[in-house]
Symmetry: D2
Subunit: 415 residues, 4 copies
């Protein structure tokens, strides 16, 4: 019999995995694989800690949390619907491993390298021996079922919904966690009430929301909107991602003259999703951060400056141009490029237009269904609040270095 | 006039620095120096996140927090004692910068490399241009005063005590922060009551504790004891430090055959405290972690295995030998070495005896003085609880790899 | 010099009143008056603890909290705008005393007795000697200024707004407090961000919201909506108020045969707002609860049963009739009355229709103004979320005793 | 099938009782009895809210919480030891009902009236029809078993220990709850770690503590010590109880001239433990508070003044005489009486000596046993911290009215 293991989590308290329960023993074994331990070296929020200093947590931590939330929700549903019990190992594994494929700088990195973490999660499950062996030992179909879940094709919709939907355990954990660590106390979710709001509908085998739980779900969607508007799409965060991205774009152009190990060379020259598994797994935040530290001393002044800015947090500034129309944005951007060239900057790396959409709810992935006397109804049809949250709130910024600030602001005022 | 800046902290809420206040504008400028930003790349608790997954925060975060606590305490004291007001810039800078000299893996790294972060804090203050210039611009004596504070020679004892004493703001922040992030909820300090317990005694210019605040201070010391016993000296944490240390010791012996950049070579070959400033500042957790990742693929099997164990968290195990006398510990260690050699291990790297002392209170640094009708009294003379906490609680562990566990446990039982 | 005093509050931590500050010494003196101490005997949420067991806190507790929030906000504004400083005593007193006029069962009691707590606050300020003397001793105009503030006629709008507006400190405290004590964790406000969102506009002397604080205020309004929809207008809470109200209505009709003291007789026979001051102040939750306990043993079976139901929490049930039109509601109510009469109930006391409006925002009291590049703008014109919250969400319930439940549900289904 | 019911608790979150579980359906039915609902009208901490304004919660609230903690601990133990399962209904009922016998002003009232709430809990169980019937319907032995548990004679020691021991669920809930509501944030217990520390030892059928859980239990005992020293035995709290007690003592002497209902007359003239059940249950905090409000207007000036002091919180003051020997205390008390008589006070009611013992641990009730390699050991034999906490810390105060303060302090200084 395997020993139990307890993770003490700031948000969820003690998360105990019972070694005597085969499914939970499997989770322990999966956590102990190199591929999972690697998530300790990838931050949950990419570059966000440059803006919200507390956002230093890793995907490892979030993955444990997502599993803990999933287990809590699933066990409650399965108590009322014992027919769900056989899905438990699959559900718990799917929750634990859902971010296994994340690479350097998480979502920021996906934008930069063109990778897809969901695809990589599936590749790792299938190709990484330590992970695959443990799954196969538990049940020969488990790995295949996990692929189905991640592809949203698993025949029991509830399982897919718990893992990835408008109301999945991934979001529940990261909204709670990110809001806590970024000091955004409005992000406190009422997990108890959300839990009590969730039902299983045996006919459709779906996860649905009880009518009396509407408010808890509305609140969750409001928090989601706020977190996007205030944290994930914060202009400083967008500026930090930009500087990182430009540094890597520049590095690519200079690669032949740069110090770089084989992993980084592969990442900068090959399509991300086609990297060999070993090269993919060899990369993490630290590997790239290390190279950025080295390149700060490189002979290329543009690259050296971009790396310095990223490391010393001397980021670009962001001018809110949301209210400008496209023509004016275009004009302003051209003028900014001219200003930069006059000031001796390699303009393309130092200015750009960024548009962010924040919304609390999208109909993507089937949405959220509410149990009403009239049958299941899309939540946005019932709730005016959700309808409002389903509208995208767009904001746009022009990025620029502080060195040209006064000139740029003059231009902006004269538009 | 400079703009204000707000850091949203999970523990302390909004920490606002007012640009209109020259002292706080200086703090903003100091935070923006490369030397301070570097603290983002050094974890507060070294290797502890391998044991307590939430312990992923940096020295940057803690330094902001320590400054925030100091400001809160100082401003309260200075309201009642306006003569303290001129010390404010010094106190706030001293709090913000107190950890500036920390290097890779914080205290774990000090043990490994033989460095002294306090010495380095003073060197950086004096030698790092961006930091030094900002201090000098504010006041020509500020840098020298800071040196005095860190050397505990500054003529106003209160200032030294707030920064480094048995009851300093550093400890207040880290106990709150570490307990929160390690999920040790018993570590919640009653900051309000501690604040109200602290007084300034104008005659001696000392920080003292009001009689009615005794309980709040007793509780703080109890928490300190628990955090040492349960977190900082957790056997898994001790094992993680050991593996890291052995990897670096081994790397030193193999250095001529290893890939390593100039910084790492310098750190592994020169006495830490004599490194050139630039080499000291060039190192951080990431630089060493990166090398450990490279060395995992090195041709030296011992080094490669130690690096793998550290990265994949396949750590040594710890056998509690607290109740064994020295003779028996010695015997057991020798037998362990034999077992290891038989099993093909390079024994010196894979076993060791570690002793940890946990105590809530020491008389070091003058202790804590309580205001009583009979004058100032050492707190341990008044409180039986503190007297108990002043005793060191010793625990000892024998480290070994899981591969020899069953044989070792047999030996242990037969002792 | 007066001693300081500290109230340790579950929500706000230590609330210290400095005896050395004349305004805060006045607050201490006001708290110590019998009229203010009486608020300890009036629950913040009337009958709500019958539905949310934690809602047991008093108006005394909330009044301290509202003062603490006000002080925090005011002191921050006055730091940036020292010309506000002279308003401090007025603002703090107005916050502390804003609920002084509440009577038995707070708002529930106002509905029952037809009283107006704002009118009574003003009467107590003017007529209650201990309160009046302390105010007059501090400044001869203070009592008159307080009247102006409560009448929203005081010439500095900011002062009135802090005390009573869409964004006043009263609401900030009670939303935080009530959500905490009712276990509605979605009610956690981000007080730090709200504080930072609030500005003073010197020209108009108004409290306004900074553009970058929009999200914090949106969130506060969302919480307000949820608290109304989920807590204040919870059908069980509405049912509890109904039973209390009917018991008192019945008692009025039977008063000549009942045991009752002079205070209760006065309250049940005179228009509330015309009671003599002493009779008003002599009443509190306990006085009426005591009589309800006595009347439980009275000879009138209707009164005895209503009192028993209230005390033993054998409340009415609530059928949601929100989706029924007025005609159907009317029909159902008549049928319910018939059912009750057949079952031997005094129908008028045992059934009723209750409609509740929940909204997060109303334009009443000038609304909330946002600072934008285009000048001050009504928040609902800028925020689609607030616009949605400004719509009233109506719900309606038919109350009935569980004894007729099965028959009533049949009728309802057949409608 | 019965519907489920959820109580949203500030401390424990959602406490759901499942109607489909017969034991939990019984709990719902017991909560709905008049005897249990009566606990809503008895405050957990008697007069403490006069000192700690947040301490307004009722025995009802605490009883739900104690049941929730018990269920969490029991269910964890029973998962590992399924042979415990049959004890579940008994354990849950015993936890829920453990305070059923509390009377007006809880423990303060016990001191005043000489009642014993444990005796009354047993009497109510046996004599109160609605309670008794529900128990008997569930199982004919349940009421008798409950008696055995409360008498600590039930054959499974674990059951008795969970309900009443040095480490029972009652204490776990009230320490958490009281510390929260009195704003004593050092009282935060690490419930997760305590839970994980508790084991069941099948041989002895005892609740024991795992060796690795020692720190969590030490911390719990430290918190207990602090709560006694700082909250329960706070001198203002002791003064408040004194004033209440003297008012009732005086009322007893004047009873023939006073307005009082039959219940209050019975309580003031008969030995509390011999009251008829109906008279015992008819009393609560409100009934006595109401009489105190009436007696404030009584013709007896001593009674009127004592009642006024209690209601308006014009309490006695407390002079710390801990360091005085018995002879000096005696002298001071006599001198105080003289001062009072000279000032026209009925001295016996206005001064008294009060001694309070605070300790974190007593060996009473078998203590706490730790699992060690050497077998079960008393925790105080293993832990120096607990040994210190087992010493009683004594403090003594002389109570007096503020009117004689200056004279008394002169006398005190001259002793």
């Amino acid at each position: 019999m395997f020993p139990s293991r307890t993770y003490h989590d700031p948000l969820h308290g003690a998360i105990t995995l019972e070694g005597s329960d085969p499914a939970e023993a499997l989770l322990i074994a999966l956590i102990d694989t190199p591929a999972f331990q690697r998530l300790r070296r990838i931050r949950q929020l990419g570059t966000a800690s440059l803006t919200f200093h507390g956002a230093e947590g890793s995907r490892f931590t979030h993955s444990l949390g997502a599993m803990a939330v999933t287990r809590q929700i699933f066990d409650r549903l399965a108590k009322a619907h014992p027919e769900l019990q056989p899905q438990r190992p699959l559900v718990l594994c799917a929750a634990l491993l859902h971010d296994l494929g994340h690479g350097p700088f998480s979502h920021t990195g996906e934008d930069i390298f063109g990778g897809n973490h969901e695809l990589w999660t599936r590749r790792i499950l299938s190709e990484s021996q330590p992970v695959r062996q443990r799954l196969d030992q538990f049940h020969p179909n488990l790995a295949a079922d996990l692929q189905q879940v991640y592809l949203k094709k698993y025949p029991v919709p509830l399982v897919c919904q718990l893992i990835s939907s408008q109301l999945d355990c991934d979001r529940l954990d990261y909204l709670m966690r990110d809001s806590y660590f970024t000091g955004a106390s409005y992000g406190k979710l009422d997990l108890d009430r959300i839990l009590m709001a969730l039902n299983y509908e045996p006919q459709s085998q779906k996860l649905v929301v009880a009518r009396k739980g509407l408010a808890a779900i509305e609140h969750y969607l409001v928090v989601r909107y706020f977190m996007y508007a205030q944290v994930y799409n914060h202009p400083k965060n967008i500026a930090a991602s930009w500087v990182l991205e430009q540094a890597l774009i520049r590095a690519k152009t200079q690669l032949s003259h740069l110090e770089a190990d084989a992993t980084v060379r592969a990442w900068l020259t090959q399509p991300c999703n086609q990297l060999p598994l070993a090269q993919y797994l060899a990369a993490d935040d630290g590997v790239f951060s290390y190279h950025i530290q080295r390149w700060r001393e490189s002979g290329d002044p543009v690259l050296a400056d971009l790396c310095r800015r990223f490391l010393d947090r001397d980021l670009l500034k962001a001018l809110d141009v949301t209210t400008l129309d496209n023509v004016k944005r275009e004009i302003l951007q051209q003028q900014t490029q001219q200003l930069l060239e006059q000031a001796g900057f390699a303009a393309a790396y130092y200015t750009g237009l960024r548009v962010a959409l924040s919304r609390g709810y999208t109909l993507y992935q089937h949405g959220i269904e509410l149990q009403t006397p009239a049958g299941l109804q899309e939540i946005s049809e019932v709730s005016p609040l959700v309808q409002t949250l389903a509208q995208p709130f767009q904001r746009a910024w022009l990025l620029y270095p502080r060195e040209i600030e006064s000139d740029l602001l003059l231009l902006h005022h004269s538009l």
